[in-house]
């Protein structure tokens, strides 16, 4: 049974966590994530979940406690944003290298400084090389759906990696959205009971985790993590197909919107993809061949799917809601451009950094991007490959 509800992104994620009913949640509040754990803690105090809720003194401790619980054999979660994720940074690497299937929502918010509480992806991009699977969500529906799928992805024996579920701070987290939620029983059956292969509280089968690893083994263990990331691509698609069967909603590695015959494409993560799709609909009515590619998965980077979806286009604009200060544009730009390089199709790929610190991405901004792409195709030249969208210049 499915039911339509009007709730915020944070409420949707807390709802998903309630239905998953994890063994342990350890979290520390931070805007805009606060509601997720606040609402979830009320489920705990009302006895609606069996979760052991650990109130910790910082995000470093939140991830540490989650790691401890997960290593002990529990299905464990945390949640954070921005500075919280930055404080967690050290432990995120421990979680991934210990191969612990921790699921944690990241409600995307700009990193200080200057201090800011609004949306951008600089927090998520800080852990893009930490060995964590990163799912991105366009709206509250996707945040809810991805949370439930994340559990299955993380715990798959071929994967065993942490999964972060990213959705835009305030835009998705605090805005009221209409979405379809599954009934408790369906979610319970979908996520199943967590049965770890090895865990610290298994007294019959002792195991020592987090051992000192020298130059003669460390490299091999990193290679194992790469293999798990590679395997995750297939698992994410499999879990997506299974989820479609119970929800009717399709989930793959990427969301290709009107790309089949497109000449121009915008690649963009999270909520801004919704705005871009709106602009595409308008421009399509005017006869322009435009489309949007929204990576649902950013780590592992689905470069094969992106190559396949973009092989026919003439010009691509990658929209990044984060800076790298490399002076070569945003983080996703580098990855997309690298993925397209080997196609040798002479696709012009340009970058737009947008929306930092919660700056709105207006529909006119997206229109301007398609205008620029049309111009690049016409002239065959892309002189400036890093641009700033919505910035006062």
């Amino acid at each position: 049974m499915k039911s339509k509800v009007a709730i915020t992104g944070n409420e949707a994620v807390a709802q998903a966590m309630k239905q998953i009913n994890p063994d342990v949640v350890a979290a520390y509040p931070i805007t805009p994530q606060t509601e997720v754990v606040q609402i979830f803690s009320s489920f705990v105090s009302n006895g609606q979940v069996d979760t052991e809720f650990v109130t910790v003194e910082s995000e470093h401790s939140a991830m540490s406690a989650t790691i401890g619980a997960s290593a002990a054999g529990a299905r464990a979660m945390t949640a954070t944003s921005s500075q919280g994720l930055a404080l967690m940074f050290e432990m995120v690497y421990i979680a991934s290298s210990l191969r612990l299937p921790i699921v944690f929502p990241v409600v995307n918010r700009a990193l200080s400084g200057p201090i800011n509480i609004h949306c951008d992806h600089s927090d998520a991009m800080g852990i893009k090389d930490a060995g964590v699977i990163q799912l991105f969500c366009e709206n509250a529906q996707e945040a809810y759906d991805n949370m439930i799928q994340a559990v299955r992805i993380a715990e798959h024996p071929d994967v065993l990696l942490p999964v972060s579920v990213n959705f835009d701070g305030f835009i998705t987290s605090h805005a009221l959205d209409v979405l379809e939620v599954l009934d408790d029983e369906t979610v319970k059956n979908f996520v199943g009971t967590y049965q770890p292969e090895e865990y610290l509280l298994d007294a019959e089968n002792p195991v020592s985790m987090g051992n000192f690893d020298m130059y003669d083994f460390y490299f091999e263990h990193k290679r194992q993590q790469v293999a798990a990331m590679e395997a995750a691509k297939k698992v994410i698609e499999e879990v997506g197909r299974e989820y479609e069967a119970i929800s009717g909603r399709k989930y793959g590695l990427i969301d290709a919107y009107k790309l089949d015959d497109a000449e121009m494409a915008v690649v963009v993560l999270n909520s801004a993809a919704g705005s871009a799709k709106g602009v595409v609909d308008e421009l399509r009515e005017k006869g322009l061949k435009v489309g949007v590619l929204k990576p649902r998965v950013f780590r592992p980077f689905p470069f094969e799917a992106i190559q396949d979806a973009l092989k026919g286009v003439k010009a691509v604009a990658v929209l990044d809601r984060a800076e790298t200060f490399s002076t070569m544009g945003g983080p996703m730009f580098a990855d997309v451009r690298t993925a397209l390089y080997d196609l040798k199709n002479d696709i012009k790929v340009v970058n737009y950094v947008y929306g930092l610190g919660g700056r709105d991405l207006r529909l006119e901004d997206v229109e301007k991007v398609y205008d620029d792409l049309a111009n690049i195709i016409k002239t065959g030249r892309a002189d400036k490959f890093v641009n700033y969208l919505g910035l006062r210049e």
């Binding site: 090895e198 007294a203 089968n205 195991v207 020592s208 051992n211 091999e220 263990h221 194992q224 293999a227």
Partner: protein, 122 residues
């Protein structure tokens, strides 16, 4: 008192870890399933200087045995027997505490060079 670990099983995963294993053969995340396995990790190759026993000077007081931080002095019947070169890291404490200077430290490089010279002569 009952030992703390009385309920611990032997474990069904007893995979040994060796440095010649490739990444597919090694245990996940470097997990270890056997207790006391530090013995199988041969730290002797960290050594740059090697203790060598002078049999004539040794009075078998075993002060070296007591001081060795890696338990790499092997004694039999209350007498000095040998060094465990698979685990001795060459710290030189044994040579330092020996009251009769019966342990000399030699550079591993020099020993290697000497061995090579001997091989060349043959």
């Amino acid at each position: 008192m009952t030992p703390f670990n009385r309920n611990f099983g032997q474990g069904r995963r007893t995979k040994a870890v060796r440095p010649d294993m490739n990444w597919k053969e090694l245990t996940k995340a470097g997990n270890i399933y056997e207790p006391g396995n530090a013995n199988t990790y041969e730290t002797g190759d960290w050594r740059t200087i090697r203790p060598v026993w002078n049999k004539d000077r040794c009075i078998h007081c075993l002060i070296c045995w007591r001081y060795c931080p890696d338990a790499s002095i092997i004694s039999t019947g209350g007498k000095f027997d040998s060094f465990d070169y698979k685990h001795c890291k060459g710290c030189g404490i044994c040579a330092n505490v020996c009251p009769v200077h019966a342990i000399d430290m030699f550079s591993e490089d020099e020993i290697d060079k000497q061995k090579e010279a001997e091989r060349n002569e043959e």
